[in-house]
């Protein structure tokens, strides 16, 4: 039963690779080692924990919903439209991917804040203020996370065989019907993967949220914000919250394992 590969891994690659694995895995192991497992149920039962968790789940899910509604059409435009300036558009759209989230938060604040360009108008016309509300959390998370969805769906659209769309057209389907009944189902795995990625990114959002939405328990204090706060006042609580986030992340990864951990399901 010996099936050894012809070429082993050369030492100059093997050693750094092993170090990289240790570097990625050890902190997580450390987190689990230091977890006060005995106190875990009690800590999780804390109302503040439940509040932060609920807020995180709700806002990340809302942000993912908004991203799907706006991001899938945007991905279609990027992948299918032949308009000029498309590459510029793609660059603009993906800026939030590389932008430090804090900068995103500042930018959102300058636009949607009470003195901001749009924010002032919203305040004067409707009496609506966005910063430091749960709405602001959702907006901040959407700003940071939507590009992940757009990139993922655009890739799936590019990989999809456009001749199916030709076939649909010869069967009397206009472009909107074709999108709904053929294109979208064909790229559904890509959309699902993008949505999960987007959701995970939104769940972990910190910088833009604390800048634009603040840190108010119950309305804007999501799990990552709670972890940061507790680490200064009550480290064991921070560890428990961290383990909870880790569990959610691992769950996400398990959900996507067929798609990402085996490279087979890539081009759906």
């Amino acid at each position: 039963m010996r099936r050894r590969r012809e070429t082993g891994v050369p030492a100059p690659l093997l050693v750094p690779a092993a170090v990289a694995v240790a570097f990625l895995v050890l902190p997580l192991a450390g987190l689990l080692v230091r977890t006060p497992w005995a106190d875990l149920p009690a800590q999780l039962a804390e109302p503040a924990v439940g509040q932060a968790l609920r807020l995180s789940l709700v806002s990340a899910t809302l942000a993912t919903g908004v991203s799907l509604l706006l991001g899938v059409p945007l991905a279609w435009v990027l992948a299918r439209s032949r308009a000029r300036g498309r590459s510029v558009l793609r660059a603009l759209v993906t800026v939030p991917l590389v932008l430090p989230p804090v900068v995103g938060g500042v930018a959102l604040f300058l636009v949607l804040g009470r003195q901001g360009i749009v924010g002032r108008w919203l305040d004067e016309a409707f009496g609506v203020t966005i910063p430091f509300t749960t709405t602001a959390v959702v907006i901040a998370e959407t700003f940071v996370a939507m590009p992940f969805l757009v990139i993922s769906v655009e890739g799936a659209l590019r990989a999809a065989d456009t001749r199916f769309e030709d076939a649909a057209a010869t069967l009397g389907a206009d472009r909107w019907t074709t999108f709904r009944r053929v294109t979208l189902p064909l790229v559904a795995p890509g959309v699902a993967a993008g949505a999960v990625l987007c959701w995970a990114r939104a769940l972990g959002e910190f910088g833009a949220t604390i800048t634009f939405a603040g840190n108010f328990p119950g309305t804007t204090q999501t799990m990552p914000l709670a972890v940061y706060l507790e680490l200064q006042s009550d480290p064991p609580a921070a560890i428990v919250l961290s383990v909870l986030l880790l569990a959610v992340s691992l769950g996400t990864l398990l959900l996507l394992r067929d798609r990402w951990l085996t490279r087979s399901g890539a081009a759906a």
Binding site: D161, A168, A169, T170, L171, A173, T177
Partner: protein, 350 residues
């Protein structure tokens, strides 16, 4: 309603400039090598590619008229199209695939599904409706694709290399079935293919396209008997004779018998390539199983060979070298003996 199209589309090195007309019930084969512009023509007819110049119309219904600024998009044309690799939607069942074109045109779900099931039964897939396309064999998928194209009673049927993705054995069966369905279809059919056998077996008329131009047009028999270019001669020399197979012999519908190597039964086409026909002035010695008296009707030189059209009990086309042609003293009207080895006769189910 006759389909008429005269279109121009620039395509890299050359411009595709084709002019075709297809009567109702007629099957036109567009035959040519890969890259000749055949599929471009089909995409223009389908409305997937707007032409740069020209006009496409079905009866009084104008689909494209560049001068008048008319372009009817694909989804508003009453047509059905079959693609080389079926392109059945993988996320829909076979029945839903066939019903798709009816649903987009506003037919109620139950009615559309009933019509789809009817067509699936007609193409021999009555039991397969609930399957996914991935669970069908290549031949089954192409039958389903044909049902999907025909279910909406289209005015025009476009077939883009419908058999070329199939393996040799399946191709024979599907080709024979396709012939029956095309015979029943009342609209205009345009079949694009690079396989002369498809063109000969399925089409009423053939246009041969090279570098975006029509180089020859006529019935399959005319084109194979009087090829106008070397390319056409090489491509469509085949004599295709209908008959009924009885074991290793085929009784031709036009009279005469042909011995074949592979046993078959039922209605078939016998195909003989012109280079496998040998001509003699006297009945050849020995006992070749296929030997027929014939009269030379016409001779068309192409390259180093001469294409000879023979008349007789078994009408054949023969290619002989220019030297042999001269040595035998062949000329129109001369009586000859034609022989073909049984092993060089192909048999296709009809």
């Amino acid at each position: 309603m006759t389909l008429t199209a005269a279109v121009e589309v620039p395509r890299g090195a050359f411009t595709v400039a084709l002019d075709v007309a297809v009567a109702p019930g007629e099957v036109l084969a567009v035959l040519g090598p890969n890259g000749a512009g055949k599929s471009t023509l089909l995409r223009v007819l389908a409305g997937l590619l707007p032409p740069d110049g020209g006009r496409v119309a079905v009866g009084d219904d104008v689909w494209d008229d560049v001068a008048a600024g008319v372009h009817v998009p694909a989804h508003e044309r009453r047509l059905g199209m079959v693609f080389q690799d079926h392109l059945l939607f993988p996320h829909l069942s076979v029945t839903e695939n066939v019903a798709f074109g009816l649903r987009t045109r506003g037919v109620r779900r139950a009615e559309a599904r009933a019509a789809a099931r009817g067509w699936l039964a007609r193409v021999g897939l009555g039991e397969m409706g609930d399957r996914r396309p991935a669970q069908l064999s290549g031949g089954q998928a192409q039958r389903a694709a044909l049902a999907r194209a025909l279910v909406g009673d289209p005015a025009v049927l476009l077939l883009d290399e419908p058999l070329s993705a199939l393996d040799a054995r399946t191709r024979l069966t599907v080709r024979a079935e396709l012939r029956h369905h095309l015979a029943d279809y009342p609209g205009s059919t345009v079949l694009v293919t690079h396989d002369p056998v498809d063109a000969m077996a399925l089409a009423d008329r053939v246009v041969v396209v090279e570098d975006g131009r029509v180089v020859q047009e006529g019935t399959p028999a005319e084109v194979s008997r009087h090829p106008r270019t070397d390319y056409v001669a090489r491509l469509v020399g085949l004599s295709l004779l209908p008959g009924t197979a009885e074991g290793t012999g085929v009784r031709l519908d036009g009279g005469g018998r042909v011995a074949v190597a592979e046993a078959a039964s039922g209605p078939v086409f016998v195909a003989v390539r012109p280079e496998s026909v040998a001509l003699y002035l006297a009945r050849p010695e020995g006992s070749p199983r296929n030997v027929w008296p014939a009269r030379l009707v016409s001779a068309t030189p192409h390259g180093a060979t001469v294409r000879c059209e023979l008349d007789g009990e078994v009408p054949l086309v023969a290619d002989v070298t220019a030297t042999a042609f001269a040595e035998l003293g062949l000329a129109p009207g001369v009586a000859v003996w034609a022989t073909v080895k049984a092993s060089e006769v192909a048999v296709y189910a009809r």
